[in-house]
């Protein structure tokens, strides 16, 4: 029995030294969405045999420097698909970090895919929105997001609508509550439903608009394609991504997808969300990359 225990402890010690090590990089302001995603995956990777350490940066410049200074260190971080488009649109922008690259072998998985929606706290029809000439609409202040919203407002002939930018979604929700803005552009209707609002217009393609609406109430949203013949943007949304370098990507992908499918934090996040949970996890990595590559190409073409 004593030998058995010794052998067991030796095996455990050995597994610890052989455990794959990875740095979990948190990029962005504390409390932002990316912070949540990074923290959850970092916590659960440990239970799957990874030895993790955490480092944080307020913006991607710090992360870019860290990656440059540690070219062979295994690392995983959370970012937004929009961040990989920005260097081609505006290379001088502070969020433009061309040192953080993305390809098939570094894309772990997109976290979720969701379409942009225009939402309000007041009961609004699409027709009323189109006739509201002096409205104020809120959007996340990422340059790519702002560009999509501006182009969409132009397509809808709503150039007088004032675009108000917000660094954090919670601040935008608060502005909607206090009627500082009339509408907001968001990718999760549930956030708006929690404050008594609803979404009425979506960037989802026409065939998908009904599918992507709230599956609890079966309400439908109007697709931008129904209103504009050839809209500048269709099928856009916020896509958070897990990206990793210098690591066994297949094993990491398997573990991260498992975490996203089974962890209580993600289940709580998606159990009451309109976004179909796991919509990006149910397809193969190759299919994910194709989906993502299509999105990147569309963005860069514009």
């Amino acid at each position: 029995m004593k030998r058995l225990f010794v052998a067991l402890f030796a095996a455990m010690a050995a597994s610890l030294t052989w455990a794959q090590s990875i740095t979990v990089m948190r990029i962005g302001a504390p409390g932002a969405n990316s912070d949540f995603y990074a923290t959850v995956v970092g916590t659960h990777l440990q239970s799957r045999g990874w030895k993790t350490k955490t480092t944080s940066f307020l913006d991607c410049k710090g992360a870019e420097k860290w990656v440059r200074d540690n070219p062979r260190e295994p690392v995983i971080y959370v970012t937004w698909a929009d961040d990989f488009v920005l260097p081609s649109i505006d290379p001088t922008h502070p969020r433009s970090c061309s040192g953080l690259t993305l390809d098939r072998d570094s894309l772990v998985t997109p976290i979720v895919k969701s379409y942009h929606m225009i939402c309000s706290r007041n009961p609004v029809t699409t027709q009323a929105f189109l006739q509201h000439r002096d409205a104020k609409i809120g959007s996340w202040n990422h340059p790519v997001q702002m560009r999509i919203v501006r182009d969409t407002l132009k397509d809808l002939d709503l150039q007088q609508t004032r675009l108000i930018s917000f660094a954090r979604g919670a601040d935008m929700l608060q502005a909607l509550v206090s009627n500082d803005i009339d509408y907001m552009v968001v990718s999760s209707e549930n956030l708006v439903r929690n404050i008594g609002g609803q979404c009425f217009l979506t960037m989802a393609p026409r065939g998908q608009a009904a599918v992507m609406s709230d599956f609890r109430t079966n309400s439908t949203q109007t697709s931008i394609e129904s209103l504009v013949q050839r809209p500048t943007w269709v099928g856009t949304g916020l896509i958070p991504l897990y990206v990793a370098y210098n690591v066994d990507i297949n094993q990491l992908r398997k573990d991260v997808v498992d975490i996203m499918s089974t962890s209580i934090e993600f289940q709580n996040l998606w159990s009451s969300s309109t976004v179909k949970s796991g919509v990006m996890t149910g397809i193969t990595p190759e299919q994910q990359w194709q989906e993502f590559d299509r999105f990147l190409s569309q963005m860069k073409r514009q």
Partner: protein, 429 residues
């Protein structure tokens, strides 16, 4: 449940020390514990803070009565009026009546706060950005007018805090201020080492030379004198003035003592009024923080920083709404416990803390350096944090008589100020 007990007990224990030892205030203790609190659940941060706040009030008056030196600034009237009376043998009676009125006004004040918060938060959340901007401006002006230094000095310190906080990348304006992206300050200057250097370390170092003599208290029959009018007057004044940014419950305590003295120059009644005021004010001080997301004192602003590290500033009210029954129960229990401790064993506890004041000072200084370094390392700002700590410590020690709380307040509040200004500028200009 266990976590709540641990945080609650730690808050009470550290609050007792903060109340007894001058130079170690509630804000300093919160800053020293921020390393441990940063990853904690937000309701535990609130529990811890309530524990510190309440116990500092109880034991600030114990120290003031028994030594003539207020452990907490709000206990100055107790030192002025209570100490001479204690020297004449009324120490035990004073400990009893101050503890009793701390209990009554503290619990009453907190219950009133909870009622206001629960019924008024919907209204508070509906305030437009223009109203929020005016309230925030009012808070900052109030701090300028009512903080310890001259108004000009407070204004300069507030501006300094704003400049320090604006260094680096702004999320709202999406640009760098004062530096560029390649600078070692591109991630900004963290507030914690600045607070440690300007306020915590100088305050704690003063404990190294601290010597105090406690008056011996003897058991005397309790006086049958009624203090209800004084207690109620003081409580009302303290509750209202506790919401004034800057001096908050300290202002309430001072005003209540002056009002009571004008009505009747009776030492015990003045002490009752001021202690009732400062306990009621310590609870009403939470109203702007919880309802509006606007802290009004340094300790409040540290709590704000800890809670908003994981949440938007508006969800402080959400956290409170989710946990208020537990907070009320906890508040009542610790008040009862502190009433007994302060009355029955206050002198003994004070004596023990004074005996170990030097050791505590050394521990606090070590903790301040360690926590600054640890947080700096984990945010990739180790060199900035250590440099900020070194420079601010030199400044803090050199200008020890100055109150640097406006600098710290503005550094913590600056992101909210910038956000409000950014929103208002987009909406109205």
């Amino acid at each position: 449940m266990i976590d709540t007990l641990i945080y609650g007990s730690a808050g009470v224990g550290l609050g007792i020390m903060a109340g007894i030892l001058p130079g170690l205030g509630t804000g300093s203790v919160m800053a020293l514990m921020s390393l441990l609190l940063m990853g904690s659940e937000p309701q535990h941060v609130l529990i811890f803070y309530l524990g510190i706040l309440v116990s500092a009030q109880y034991f600030g008056s114990v120290t003031a009565i028994l030594t003539g030196i207020p452990g907490d600034p709000s206990s100055l009237p107790s030192a002025t009026w209570g100490f001479p009376a204690a020297q004449q043998g009324q120490g035990q009676e004073l400990l009893y009546i101050t503890a009793k009125w701390s209990l009554i006004s503290g619990i009453t004040g907190f219950v009133l706060c909870v009622m206001i918060i629960v019924s008024g938060t919907y209204w508070a959340r509906s305030l437009s950005v223009s109203v929020q901007s005016w309230l925030l401006l009012g808070a900052i002006v109030s701090i300028m007018l009512f903080s310890a230094n001259t108004r000009i000095k407070n204004m300069i310190l507030l501006c300094l805090g704003g400049v320090l906080a604006s260094v680096g990348y702004s999320e709202n304006f999406m640009q760098y201020f004062w530096v560029d992206s390649s600078s070692w300050l591109s991630d900004g200057i963290p507030w914690l080492p600045i607070m440690m250097g300007l306020m915590v370390i100088p305050g704690v170092m003063s404990l190294l030379s601290y010597r105090s003599q406690l008056i011996t208290v003897t058991q005397r029959p309790r006086s049958l004198e009624s203090h209800w009018p004084s207690g109620v007057r003081g409580g009302l004044i303290g509750f209202v003035l506790g919401t004034v940014p800057g001096m908050s419950y300290v202002l309430g305590s001072l005003v209540a003592s002056k009002v009571e003295y004008a009505i009747q120059a009776n030492a015990k009644k003045v002490v009752v009024a001021s202690e009732s005021a400062n306990n009621a004010g310590a609870t009403s001080m939470l109203l702007p923080l919880i309802m509006l997301g606007i802290p009004i004192t340094t300790s409040d602003s540290v709590v704000y920083a800890l809670l908003t590290a994981n949440q938007s500033h508006n969800t402080i009210s959400t956290i409170f709404h989710q946990h208020w029954p537990m907070l009320v129960i906890y508040f009542v229990v610790i008040n009862l416990m502190l009433f007994l401790l302060a009355w029955r064993t206050g002198a003994a506890i004070c004596g023990w803390v004074f005996e170990h004041a030097h050791a505590m000072a050394i521990m606090a200084m070590t903790l301040s350096v360690l926590s600054t370094s640890w947080l700096g390392y984990h945010t990739g700002q180790l060199s900035v944090s250590l440099a900020a700590l070194a420079i601010s410590t030199l400044v803090g020690l050199r200008f020890r008589d100055h109150d640097f709380s406006p600098v710290v307040y503005m550094m913590i509040m600056y992101p909210f100020v910038e956000l409000t200004w950014h929103k208002a500028s987009q909406l109205y200009f």
